[in-house]
């Protein structure tokens, strides 16, 4: 086992992880940052659209440009980055960490402080033939197109009209694909109006109260059958429609990726508003396990802007524990970030999250 010269391990180099690194390095703390991907940035590296949100959190900037801006904040001398490397386990009671370095060899480390910023993973839904080649998650489609320049197919059915479904549909159009239909199980479109209007203006038919019944094809997707849903989300017989497509793109929500936290022994609770089961945490972003913090989508699916603040909060709270900054200075910065977070969540789209956080803070993990 390596006895490390690092003070903190940050797992995940998305907006949450990068911001945590920025705060830690500013306080002179040595960090090991591990990310599974070949480049840092997490979800941002595939987001070619201009960001929504507030200006102090990069609204108007394209997602792909944000990681560079964040990395400028980080003192390179204090950060060691293992990219294309995966943290595969955190073993209690000593926080022994296994890292699959360069996807080649396993290394064992031990850390007093760990920030889990592993983001979220895409949901899958149940329908006949949902394992046929040609069925993708929206995130995978985005990675293929925006990161690697590969078009997944020609004629698409998009399932799910949240922001991601809307944005990815638009990006598919930009890439020259045909989105034949966008279906949504809920009675109305879930995403922001700006994104929805673009899609509708481009003439993509959007059908609400509709879901996918089955994929057609033997070797790969050749079509799909959709069906209408009544107000109780039951399928309405006789409303089945067949559509000829070669690709089905599922954009049906994200679930926090917190398996490492569970492995480390962090207690979980169920909060629907934050994405279901999540690790319990306090307002310092610390979990039930001493020294293990969690930030970003990993502790409740939200957005990049809030992920960034949560990452900063986790970093600052560790700096405070390590006494690398005066308590007063820490508290001031922590308060500033808490205020930004509140501001960010104050709009109508933040209501659900605020409700979730309220429930979280009302509960102990016992």
């Amino acid at each position: 086992m390596k006895t490390d010269s690092f003070d903190v391990l940050v797992i995940g180099g998305g907006p949450a992880g990068l911001c945590a690194c920025a705060e830690l390095s500013r306080c002179g703390i040595k960090v090991l940052l591990v990310d599974e991907g070949p480049v840092l940035g997490g979800q941002l590296v595939k987001q070619t659209h201009k960001f929504f949100g507030s200006r102090e959190h990069y609204a108007g900037v394209r997602g792909i440009e944000i990681p560079d801006k964040l990395q400028e904040e980080i003192d390179e001398k204090l950060i060691t980055v293992y990219s294309s490397s995966t943290v595969v386990g955190i073993y209690p009671p000593n926080n022994n960490v296994l890292i699959y370095r360069d996807q080649k060899k396993v290394e064992e480390h031990s850390f007093k402080y760990i920030i889990i910023a592993t983001g979220a993973s895409e949901n899958m839904i149940l329908f006949e033939n949902n394992d046929l080649p040609g069925i993708y998650g929206a995130g995978a489609v985005q990675t293929l197109m925006n990161q690697y320049g590969i078009i997944p197919g020609k004629n698409m059915l998009m399932v799910g009209a949240g922001n991601i479904g809307l944005i990815v549909s638009y990006q598919l159009l930009q890439a020259g694909c045909r989105v034949k239909k966008l279906i949504e199980a809920a009675p109305s479109i879930g995403g922001y109006l700006v994104h929805a209007s673009k899609i509708i203006r481009m003439g993509i038919p959007v059908q609400t109260s509709t879901t996918i019944l089955k994929a057609i094809g033997t070797e790969k997707v050749e079509g799909a059958i959709t069906v209408k849903l009544d107000e109780n989300w039951n399928q309405i017989e006789g409303t089945e429609e067949e559509i000829e497509v070669d690709t089905i793109c599922l954009s049906v929500g994200l679930a926090p990726s917190y398996k490492l936290a569970v492995h480390a022994g962090c207690k979980q609770i169920f909060i629907r508003e934050l994405g279901g089961m999540i690790p319990w945490r306090n307002s310092s972003q610390e979990t039930s396990v001493n020294g293990i913090y969690i930030a970003g989508d990993a502790c409740g699916v939200e957005e990049a802007s809030s992920a960034m603040i949560e990452g900063r909060l986790a970093g600052l709270n560790i700096a405070k524990c390590m006494k690398r900054l005066s308590e007063k200075a820490c508290n001031e910065k922590i308060d500033d970030n808490l205020i930004s977070l509140d501001k960010l969540r104050s709009g109508p789209f933040g209501e659900r999250i605020v409700e979730g956080i309220r429930k979280l803070e009302g509960k102990s993990y016992e």
């Binding site: 386990g89 073993y91 209690p92 022994n96 296994l98 064992e108 492995h263 022994g265």
Partner: protein
């Protein structure tokens, strides 16, 4: 809602509880209730290696396992459910003369009971598993009718068919006490309410001693954590379960290509902890590649742990007891309750429903520990 009364309450939704419910219901017993504190298969059953072997060190374990194999051979058909049972064989290499001697005695006993088992040279063992490293192998034993199944499918199938026959399964319901009056069971208390019942069946796996203690029965049983892992699936390259008592390890390639691998840690203390450790991974990977170097290339997907419910002679405790009327049990399987559970359940169903007492029930009763002269099965890992 928990029913107010039952004719029998089965505690535990593992292989033992569900199979007993099925066989009892098939015999026409009504008002059977299974109480399970978590979910079906949450105990040892859903975590086990699911090997089915007849090459044991005592006649009791061997003959019971031979009967169990007969049952497994037609179980998919009986339950109309593919439980992924396969007779892929068990190969048991001996790396010391001591085990080689022991094995030849075992084989003699097993053959006398009618088991088709062979005592092999290292080369013959390598012919069966070409990737086996036989450098230090002294001898091996092999039985082609040994094998394994899928414990989740088996238990769900039993539970499903039992439900069809009217059995009620209450999950997330924990038994907290059992009341006895005039020497007979009268009711079961749970965190969701109380059920009056004249009979209970203790099938609580790693927690069986806690249930027994509720009716003042002191079982000579301890639970121990056993860890296990599964690798990524790869193309099929060996058939039998390989098990070594020298290395305290077993592994087999299951149907979809993954390798299931477990080992015993002799320093483990009795307890109920089921967390996974890093030491286990390091330990088992070092041990296993000595037996099969090719395993070195595989990636580990997951690791987990479950409880062995262990008796002093490594044989289960089954049947009724003298002092508490209406109390029945099938506990202390000592790491081989998946393979023995269904057969034991048929015997227990005959005892409970028909009053028919197979002689093995007496041989494996709690009473045997009173005499003090027990024979320990050492073919355990």
């Amino acid at each position: 809602m928990l029913p107010k009364t039952a004719d029998i309450v089965i505690i535990g939704g593992g292989i033992n509880g569900t199979s007993l419910a099925y066989y009892l219901a098939k015999k026409g017993i009504k008002n059977i209730v299974i109480l399970e504190k978590n979910f079906v298969c949450s105990g040892a059953t859903g975590r086990c290696g699911a090997g089915i072997r007849q090459q044991w060190g005592t006649p009791e374990n061997t003959s019971l396992a031979m009967e169990a194999v007969k049952l497994f051979e037609t179980l998919s058909e009986e339950l109309d459910w593919d439980i992924e049972y396969e007779q892929c064989g068990y190969l048991i290499p001996a790396f010391t003369d001591e085990f080689a001697d022991q094995f030849s005695k075992n084989v003699r006993m097993q053959k006398k009971l009618g088991l088709d088992v062979s005592y092999l040279t290292p080369q013959e063992a390598k012919d069966i598993v070409p990737d086996l490293c036989v450098d230090n192998v002294r001898a091996a034993t092999y039985c082609s009718t040994d094998g394994g199944g899928n414990p989740l499918l088996t238990t769900y199938a039993y539970a499903h068919r039992a439900k069809e026959l009217g059995v009620k399964i209450h999950t997330k319901t924990e038994v907290t006490d059992i009341t006895v009056s005039g020497g007979n069971i009268t009711s079961v208390v749970t965190d969701k309410g109380t059920i009056s019942t004249p009979m209970i069946f203790n099938a609580a796996g790693g927690h069986s001693q806690e249930i027994a203690a509720m009716v003042d029965i002191d079982l000579p049983i301890n639970s121990y954590r056993h860890q296990i892992l599964v690798t990524e699936p790869v193309e099929h390259f060996f058939d039998p379960m390989i098990i070594s008592f020298d290395y305290n390890i077993y592994f087999r390639q299951v149907k979809h290509g993954s390798i299931l691998m477990g080992c015993s840690d002799t320093s483990e203390k009795p307890g109920y902890d089921t967390t996974s450790t890093l030491d286990f991974i390091k330990d088992i990977t070092t041990r296993s590649i000595k037996i099969m170097p090719k395993l070195k290339k595989l990636n580990v997907l997951r690791q987990w742990a479950g409880l062995y419910n262990v008796t002093p002679d490594a044989m289960p405790i089954i049947g009724d007891v003298a002092d508490v009327g209406g109390y029945f049990q099938a506990v202390g399987f000592s790491g081989h309750g998946y393979m023995l559970g269904p057969k034991v359940a048929t015997l227990m169903a005959e005892l409970i429903a028909d009053g028919k007492r197979d002689e093995i029930i007496d041989r494996l009763s709690l009473e045997r520990f009173k005499s003090g002269n027990i024979t320990v099965d050492s073919s355990v890992c």
